[in-house]
Amino acid sequence: MVNPNVQGKKYPETAPYLVGREKVREFANAVFSTNPINHDLFAAQAAGYPDLVAPPTFAVLIQERSLHTVIADPEADIDFSRVVHGDQRFIHKRPIVAWDELTSVLEVDSVKSLGAHSMITFKTEILDRNKNLVCTAISTLVVRGE
């Protein structure tokens, strides 16, 4: 069972992640994107962006870095081998673009029990190098009971 006392707990800001152009292209290919602004620098700039635009779910890479700190936290007591992804949401203030340098701060929004299972919801704020909010990622993990 997930420790309900971690509700409200905030985890330290993660180390900066530099978004690379080829990583954007690699991720775009992996999610079947054919949108030119994910692949073609000139198309992205013609559309008014400073560099390649990352697909809408790219923020998961940054969210994962924060999630790892929670999974590794003995206080939270999350058995990762029993984790199932329940839901996911990304609210963007602006799209992520190549050469963004992003950090994240995660807060445990809620811990709920559902029979033998636990549901834990995280809110991860993704910030650029000026500490402006780029995206809020909300994720619920279901930890199956024994």
Binding site: A30, N38, P55, T57, L61, G86, Q88, I138
Partner: protein
């Protein structure tokens, strides 16, 4: 800029559909791109050992592919300002035949004040819904 004329849209109108063919290669490619190397997404023996019927696609792969229907309609991946899904059923990916995920997008609501359109996405595999409440808000 986008080609979409908000005044010409109706709630319930279909904006596009696409069938995505997932193979084991797709899963390995997504694992590498995302950094999610959970072996349930590429090893049959491991998937079976943890009680699954077989290797399944990353939920985030299905989520990431499904939104492309809305992106292609909007013409600009940067216009998706809010996107959320529930993962309702796994997509099992057979080693030989793969799996096909059919995604259909419809206009869910129109917000004239904020100039946004909510696109509701349905995603199914073998006629079973694999995402729930999949909604993408497009800023025009």
């Amino acid at each position: 800029m986008t080609h979409i004329n908000i005044a010409g849209l109706e709630v319930g109108q279909e904006i596009g559909s696409q069938s995505f063919h997932f193979t084991r290669d797709s899963l390995v490619r997504y694992a590498g791109a995302s950094g999610d190397f959970n072996p349930i997404h590429y090893r049959d023996d491991f998937a079976k050992a943890v009680g699954l019927d077989g290797v399944l696609a990353h939920g985030m792969l299905t989520m990431g592919a499904a939104v492309q229907v809305a992106v292609n309609w909007a013409g600009d991946a940067g216009k998706v300002i809010d996107y959320g899904v529930r993962f309702t059923k796994p997509v099992f990916v057979d080693a030989n035949t793969g799996a096909d995920v059919l995604v259909i997008g419809k206009v869910g609501s129109i917000d004239l004040e904020n100039n946004t359109i909510r696109i509701d996405l349905s995603a199914s595999c073998a006629e079973v819904a694999v995402l729930g409440k999949a909604q993408a808000v497009i800023q025009l």
